[in-house]
């Protein structure tokens, strides 16, 4: 069965959607990604949708699901490269893409993930420090 490839890059997973997906492909992607996050302990998921010419409520829901599911497994999701026409349409349709971050392109998406994860890790270290001094 056809599947969308998921690339592993250190602590992150990268998915580039290159074609307009039919539903089964999108549902598979959701399942595969969640599996991968679990297997690799990835801290971030980056989904590049710059080649998508439309995002309807179905695709929007899949993206949202990926975000929420990853979050529960302690990974942040960034959707990058949304086309202007797609963004305008999504707003009119009434879809907000809650649960995912957005960035202009893969590079900026990576930066965003790094700063978020670093910030989280620092908090943990600080907490540990405090615990140690007591």
């Amino acid at each position: 069965m056809e599947r969308i490839p998921i690339l592993r890059m250190g602590k992150f997973l990268l998915v580039t959607i290159q074609i307009d997906l039919y539903d089964r492909l999108a549902t598979n992607l959701e399942a595969d990604l969640v599996q991968m996050v679990n297997k690799t302990g990835a801290r971030g998921v980056l989904i590049d949708i710059s080649a998508l010419s439309i995002v309807d409520s179905f695709m929007g829901r899949i993206l949202g699901n990926i975000g929420s599911m990853s979050k529960i497994m302690d990974a942040e999701t960034v959707v990058v490269g949304m086309q202007p026409a797609v963004a305008i349409t999504l707003i009119e349709l009434g879809l907000e893409l809650k649960g995912v971050h957005t960035a202009l392109n893969v590079e900026k998406g990576m930066e965003l993930l790094k700063t978020r994860i670093d910030a989280e890790d620092e908090e943990i270290i600080e907490e540990e420090d405090e615990a140690g001094t007591e």
Partner: protein, 137 residues
């Protein structure tokens, strides 16, 4: 008065039919010179309606028409199914209402994305939704 300049019929039976249908709609929209944003709105609305047709109506037939009115050109899409029909249309048109545990934005969202929206449904007989997007609308 609306003149039909071109007409195409496609039947939708399985989810693999959705992407080819969207592509066909796009071809026509490009042919009449519709702007990219309007194309995207039209195709997104079409995607919502064709999905409803599959999910709730058990598939059906779509009609793609190039129409003209005065000096404006546009695309009319009709989605016809012989499914169970909709009991309460005004409820189905509400943002957030879904009988299928979904977001419930397909129908109201599609309406916001196009210039004209018409829905008719008879219980036990089926549902017909017709939308128009004008080239410059």
């Amino acid at each position: 008065m609306k003149l039909v300049l071109n007409k195409d019929v496609m039947s939708i039976e399985k989810e693999q039919d959705v992407v080819p249908f969207r592509n066909r709609v796009k071809e026509y929209a490009v042919k009449i010179g519709m702007s990219l944003v309007n194309q995207t709105k039209l195709i997104t609305a079409a995607s919502e309606l064709v999905r409803n047709m599959l999910k709730y109506g058990g598939g059906g037939v779509t009609i793609i028409e190039v129409i003209s009115q005065g000096r404006d050109n546009g695309i009319r899409l009709v989605f016809q199914d012989k499914g169970p029909g909709i009991k309460d249309i005004s409820l189905a048109m509400k943002d957030g209402y879904s009988s299928g545990k979904s977001l419930g934005i397909g129908l109201p969202g599609a309406k916001r994305l196009v210039n004209e929206f018409d829905i008719k449904s008879t219980l036990g007989e089926g549902t017909t939704v017709s939308i128009i997007k004008w080239k410059n609308g």
